[in-house]
Amino acid sequence: MQPASSSSRSTSLKRGIGRAFTYATVGAWSLFTVFFVVWIVIASLKKTRDLFSEPWSLPLKPVWGNYVKTWVSSHFGDYFLNSLWVVSISVCMLLVVCVPAAYVLARARFRGREALANFFILGMGVPIPLLFVPLVVIMTTLRMGDSLSGLSVVYVALSVPFTIYVLMGFFASLPGEIESAAIIDGCSDFQTFWHVMMPLAMPGIATVAILNFVGLWNEYQLSLVLINSPENRTLSLGIYSLISSMQYSGGDWPGLFAGITIVMVPTIIMFVAMSERMISGITMGGVK
């Protein structure tokens, strides 16, 4: 008994040390991230000179005008609406296309299913910069160049592989008995999908919606290549134009940090509002 007890004590000690290390690492990482997010918000409320002379101090007189200037003069209000529109539409279209497709690829049995699934997965490996020139040519030919709807179509097309790949995992993990019971009860294929399987996959659908929303909200390369008109700029292009105008025109660094804060707000709200559902979705996909 003695040796067994000592071995279980040493195992639990090791587990405790492992857990403490994990908590310390995750805690440090979280602190690091939160610190810089808070610093950016604080920096956005200072004057340029104060920002560089006292970078760690709190702004005694917050300069809210930095936000007004960024929102109005630098057109961030317009860019915000553009981003919101293009990303929301893209995510909705993505779900409309990918949820049924992933369901069929995960649950149906037909010839070529695996090849089709692999084809989608292959799409995840294509480097985006390789597509710049063909995309510009195609979108211009379709008269969709330099438009938010064109950008939205490209976003959907390029996000399909990842979304289908993730959703296939969710649908594959759902118990087949529920599907069989629905069919025995007289549901058609569509009714089984719509009334039974899709509600069960909701945590997974929420997860891909959030991941795509955040990814597309921060997307820069494609919008840089496909959008030319300033009135069609998205937030990431707006941030870049703020940075690039530092050379030759003078550095409005607090304005830049105000812009970054504006970009961060929607994703933070989304994570706060939907993190529970997202975590449950990821756990569900991972465990079953």
């Binding site: 040519v137 840089l224 290549v225 300033p230 025109s249 550095g251």
Partner: protein, 426 residues
């Protein structure tokens, strides 16, 4: 009344008819020029260009403008758009980027014959020729930036020093500034293009203006193994050894270094004449800016009045729908009326003789007027061989400058990589 009514009708008809005819005439000849710009709409330079376009339209009512304010990625975006068949009349960008980009790709319209002697003579010496290729002109420079040491005049006075004329005087200046508890010079550790300015200036002061391309064009790589190159590299390291540059500056990331000038901790920086504008928010409007040219070196061929510049230029595209009007407009931009507007509203240095620069750029204006030779920012190698400069010269120099590697290693690497470059080019 009876008689007056038909008369009034007749007058109204005449007015209407003549208005319609004028409108039709305007409709036939009206031209809308499409301009893709490197500025962002809220920038003062963009607003100044708007005023210039308005002035042009006032003088030429049949010409209007459609502007796409792309920001600094203008050329990158334009190249993609041109491939997709987008029609653009003219655009602007840093002259060296245009030279190595659209001009090298054959997308620029040659305008040599459109520029008469009077126009050429109206520009500051050398400005038009800087980005010409074998005498063929493809772009017109409209903003003049010089490269100098930009410094705090009050701090210089406090140190009891004067602008140095030789390298040794520069080192003495460093010592004088250190005595009053400040650093003489600052750098941005992550901006290799700025740090390269020391090396390129030392090479130009040793071998003469535009010598870097000649050193590189020795296909054996032996251009870099000359004694003067090693000496120049060693002199850049002396700046650290003598404490000219504060040791902290190694870790500065743009814009941390230049902000120390605004805060009064450092005397100055070797950089473009855009620095006062860049620091206007943090330094304030009354900051005592002055500038001096890079000093000479012992037994060097280069003069202190030889100047590195970065000119912003306008180019008409080969595929422009309205090339004649576009060429006329870019000539107008370099003209007296437009340049005065750009200086007043955009606070830029003018490329035209006789147009006074903003007061804060007075020293830059003097150096531009007195320039004995011009080379492009960084010695011109980036303009002619952008790939070698970006992938070998700038990063390798920066590593050595910041203390990773020796001047001897830098010279050996440059020689070997130059030889490889030319061998692979065959």
């Amino acid at each position: 009344m009876k008689t007056s009514t038909p008369q009034r009708w007749s007058t109204t008809k005449k007015v209407l008819l003549s208005s319609m005819l004028s409108a039709a005439a305007l409709g036939v000849s009206a031209k809308e020029l499409t301009f893709w710009s490197m500025w962002n709409e809220p920038e003062p330079q963009a607003k100044a260009l708007r005023s210039v376009m308005a002035a042009y339209t006032k003088a030429h009512p049949d010409v209007t403008f459609k502007v796409v304010w792309n920001g600094r990625q203008n050329q990158t975006k334009l190249r993609g758009a041109l491939q997709a068949g987008t029609k653009v009349d003219f655009m602007d960008q840093d002259g060296d980027q245009l030279y190595g980009g659209l001009q090298a790709a054959g997308a620029g319209l040659e305008i040599t014959k459109d520029l008469d002697k009077a126009f050429k003579d109206s520009l500051l010496p050398g400005a038009l020729d800087l980005y010409a290729n074998n005498g063929k002109v493809y772009s017109v420079p409209y903003v003049y930036n010089t490269v100098n040491f930009w410094y705090n005049r009050d701090l210089m006075k406090k140190a009891g020093a004067t602008p140095p004329k030789t390298w040794d005087e520069l080192l003495n200046l460093c010592a004088a500034v250190q005595k009053v508890g400040k650093s003489a010079l600052v750098i941005e550790g992550n901006v290799s293009d700025y740090n390269m300015l020391y090396f390129s200036h030392l090479l130009e002061r040793t071998y003469g203006a535009n010598s870097m391309a000649k050193l590189f064009e020795d296909k054996t790589g032996n251009g870099w193994t000359q004694a003067g190159v090693l000496e120049a590299a060693q002199m850049t390291r002396t700046l650290w050894d003598k404490g000219c540059i504060s040791k902290d500056a190694r870790g500065f990331q743009y814009p941390a270094g230049q902000q120390t000038i605004a805060l009064g901790d450092t005397l100055g920086e070797l950089v473009g004449s855009w620095l006062p504008t860049e620091l206007s928010e943090s330094a304030g409007k009354d900051f005592p800016w002055s500038a001096f040219n890079f000093p000479t070196v012992k037994n060097g061929k280069g003069k202190q009045t030889d100047l590195q510049v970065a000119l912003l230029s306008m180019m008409v595209l080969k595929t422009a729908p309205n090339p004649k009007e576009a060429v006329d407009f870019i000539k107008f931009v370099a003209g007296e009326q437009a340049q005065k507007i750009l200086v007043a509203e955009g606070q830029i240095g003018s490329t035209r003789k006789g147009v006074a620069w903003p007061a804060v750029l007075a020293d830059a204006e003097k150096s531009a007027r007195e320039a004995t030779a011009l080379s492009n920012f960084g010695g011109g190698l980036k303009m002619v061989y952008p790939e070698f400069t970006a992938t070998v010269l700038a990063p390798e120099f920066n590593k050595m400058f910041l203390g990773e590697g020796t001047p001897q290693q830098l010279v050996a690497t440059l020689a070997a990589k130059t030889k490889d470059f030319w061998a692979n080019k065959k």
